[in-house]
């Protein structure tokens, strides 16, 4: 065999030996954990659809102790699977949905007080009994602070969450709703701290 050909073959062999000896198995990207967490700014959710009190369905007032009237409304589909996966993951520091609330329900001098109870409705349309959201008290006025606070301890129960359910327990001397009575949440901002993704 030609001598130069032998040397060529040896040269190629050396090259392959070099390359094969340098594979770092600990960096196997197929086994790389690609879960990441991003610190996102507060998310502007805008305004929720206006809630016209006169059209809300009634529920038994016993649900809200002491209320004369209990009305309910639901924001459907607020939590879809992507939302849950990204914002409501175990290890999250909790999620707060903050808003300014305008409640124009009966005249201000009526002494009306509304207790707002908040529940999570799961994908199977049942109330999520594990997630406890602090209730809020509002009056008939504009520009009130309002928040939906879901603590970090409830994240593991949010996996099947879909809707946010409001119950308005209304206490007043005499009920006299008009078609113009409404509750409006605006400047809704979601404070989540971080979101979780898989690259």
């Amino acid at each position: 065999m030609n001598k130069s050909l032998i040397y060529n073959i040896i040269g190629i062999g050396i090259l392959f030996l070099f390359m094969q000896s340098c594979v770092d198995k600990e960096y196997d990207s197929d086994k790389l954990n690609t879960n990441i967490e991003l610190n996102v700014p507060p998310v502007p959710l805008g305004g929720f659809d206006t809630i016209y009190v006169n059209f809300l369905p009634s529920i038994p007032p016993e649900i809200v102790i002491g209320a004369r009237v209990a009305l309910s409304d639901t924001i459907r589909g607020l939590f879809d699977q992507n939302t849950i996966d990204r914002f409501f993951f175990e290890g999250s520091s909790g999620v707060v949905i903050s808003a300014k609330l305008d409640a124009m329900v009966m005249p201000q001098e009526s002494g009306l007080e509304i207790e707002v109870l908040l529940d999570i409705i799961d994908a199977d349309k049942t109330k999520n009994e594990f997630v406890k959201i602090p209730s809020q008290r509002i009056v008939s006025a504009k520009n009130q602070n309002f928040e939906v606070r879901i603590g970090p301890e409830y994240m593991k129960y949010m996996k099947n969450a879909r809707d946010l359910h409001f119950i308005f327990g209304i206490r007043v001397a005499a009920i006299n709703f008009t078609r113009q009575d409404y509750i409006y949440l605006r400047r809704v901002i979601l404070f989540a701290g971080g979101i979780q993704l898989e690259l």
């Binding site: 086994k31 507060p42 502007p44």
Partner: protein, 485 residues
């Protein structure tokens, strides 16, 4: 509002940097068309590309498509060791929640670049005639540079705060690259009793494609009151029949989003000229004894330009655009059509409009300069006709950054037909690799060479660089003719 694409949008945004990185690794750039380890090897015919005054020992005809294949990539940051960390028995990315900010950013520089290069010779030949050496070659070259400033990593890792308005300045993101054919003619001559060799290489350049993305300014501010993005970005592209492609914005049918490029029938969209010049001085005739074994060399390469024709060139820009997103801009419906992530994606899309590129009217072609590079060499013979020691300083003047390399080499020729070089390059080796070149160059038969400046490449099973900052490899096959000079 609901759209399956929404679900992927955020992931896509944060995958952009990864895509750019992978794209740059797969596309090419660098110093020249030869390893620096070959610079002092007398048997090398490709070193003419590093210095037009350097010659091989004898004439040759390159085996078509195999006479020179050169691949090179280097980075100061982008490898798996810098971007991933061990955690609880597995590896995680720097963006994992349990990797601290200081740990994640400890390996990140102010500017983080990748520069890659490919040279592929289709035909080449060289021969001696009197004092002259002539070399002809035709090949394809491709190059690309990309720079990602540290602020991008800070955006990804540090991000934003809940109770504070935070600004991330992402200016100076850049990506530049080109692919072109090169027809070169080199001539070098000796002077002063063979002490001085001067060489020049003239090149006709056939431009195939060109891309230049320059984010002159790009910053994002976000807090609880508003999100704001400001940008001034220019994207220039040239390729056969290139045209911008747009798609309807999913939230606003009146808007068009840039969605890439379409191409026409193949043609040569750009023509240019290039010049390499070089000199080698051999101190063999000086009176000072110890200097007689010294050679110094200097080369300046890739001076020139490619002019891209008007019909094959596009320029897109987002001139001084500012977009502000406020909490009053959206509505969350209670009928099941709006989830939190829908609004989030919509807000991100609105913010992205700050960098939505729009095609500028093209009134003329575009001329882009080549990225020049310079080599300065010192060679000292330590063993007559057997071994020399060399020092090579290389620098490349990129459009957005300049990169340097310093290479020390020991060049050993145990037999006239066998040349070897062992080298160490300081800027990218980090004591983890070294250079190695082997030339089998008998005067008859087939010549073969294999060279790398970073021969121990540490890679993952998927061929991604792990701890290496540079990878290069060169090989070639040729047929020699004529005797040794």
């Amino acid at each position: 509002m609901k759209n399956p694409r929404n679900k992927m949008k955020l992931r896509s945004l944060f995958s952009v940097s990864v895509a750019i990185i992978i794209g740059c690794i797969l596309s090419p750039d660098g110093f020249a068309q030869s390893t620096r380890s070959s610079y002092f090897m007398k048997t090398s015919y490709t070193r003419t590309a590093l210095n037009a005054a350097l010659r091989p020992e004898h004439g040759y005809i390159g085996v078509p498509f195999l006479s020179n294949i050169y691949l090179d990539a280097r980075t100061n940051t982008f490898n798996m060791e810098n971007l991933t960390f061990p955690l609880n028995g597995e590896r995680v990315t720097f963006m994992h929640a349990q990797i601290s900010e200081s740990q994640a950013l400890s390996n990140i520089s102010t500017d983080n670049y990748i520069t890659t290069n490919l040279a592929f010779s289709i035909f080449s030949a060289g021969f001696f005639r009197g004092d002259s050496y002539w070399n002809f070659d035709f090949g394809i070259r491709a190059n690309a540079d990309s720079n990602v400033p540290k602020s991008v990593f800070e955006l990804l890792k540090v991000g934003f705060k809940e109770n504070e308005t935070v600004t991330h300045d992402l200016s100076n993101i850049s990506l530049a690259g080109s692919v072109f054919g090169e027809i070169g003619v080199t001539n070098s001559r000796t002077f002063l009793n063979n002490s001085l060799t001067l060489g020049a290489r003239g090149k006709l350049l056939l431009g195939i494609s060109y891309l230049d993305l320059d984010a002159k300014s790009l910053n994002i501010t976000a807090g609880s009151e508003f999100w704001r993005a400001k940008s001034q970005v220019i994207l220039r592209g040239a390729a056969p029949g290139i045209k911008g492609r747009y798609e309807e914005n999913e939230y606003n049918p009146d808007k068009q989003d840039f969605d890439g490029f379409d191409f026409g029938d193949f043609n040569i969209p750009g023509f240019g000229l290039g010049l390499d010049i070089g000199a080698v001085y051999d101190f063999k005739d000086v009176s000072v004894d110890f200097l007689r074994k010294l050679k110094v060399s200097y080369a300046l390469n890739d001076l020139g330009f490619i002019s891209w024709s008007k019909s094959n060139f596009v320029q897109l820009s987002s001139p001084e655009t500012e977009v502000i997103v406020s909490p009053n801009d959206y509505t969350t419906h209670n009928d099941g059509t709006t989830s939190i992530i829908d609004i989030f994606d919509h807000a991100l899309d609105d913010l992205r409009q700050a960098v939505n590129l729009h095609e500028d009217p093209v009134t003329s072609g575009y001329t882009a300069t080549l990225r020049a590079n310079m080599n300065v060499g010192l060679e000292y013979e330590v063993w007559d006709d057997k071994m020399t020691a060399g020092f090579l300083y290389s620098t490349r003047f990129g459009k957005y950054f300049t990169s340097n390399e310093f290479t020390l080499s020991a060049n050993y020729m145990p037999k006239p037909w066998l040349a070897t070089t062992f080298s160490y390059s300081f800027a990218y080796s980090a004591f983890k690799t070294f250079g190695l070149a082997v030339h089998v160059a008998p005067t008859r038969g087939i010549n073969f060479f294999l060279a790398s400046d970073y021969s121990i490449v540490r890679i993952s099973p998927q061929w991604l660089p792990t701890s290496s900052h540079a990878i290069n490899l060169q090989m070639g096959v040729s047929i020699p003719f004529g005797g040794r000079q």
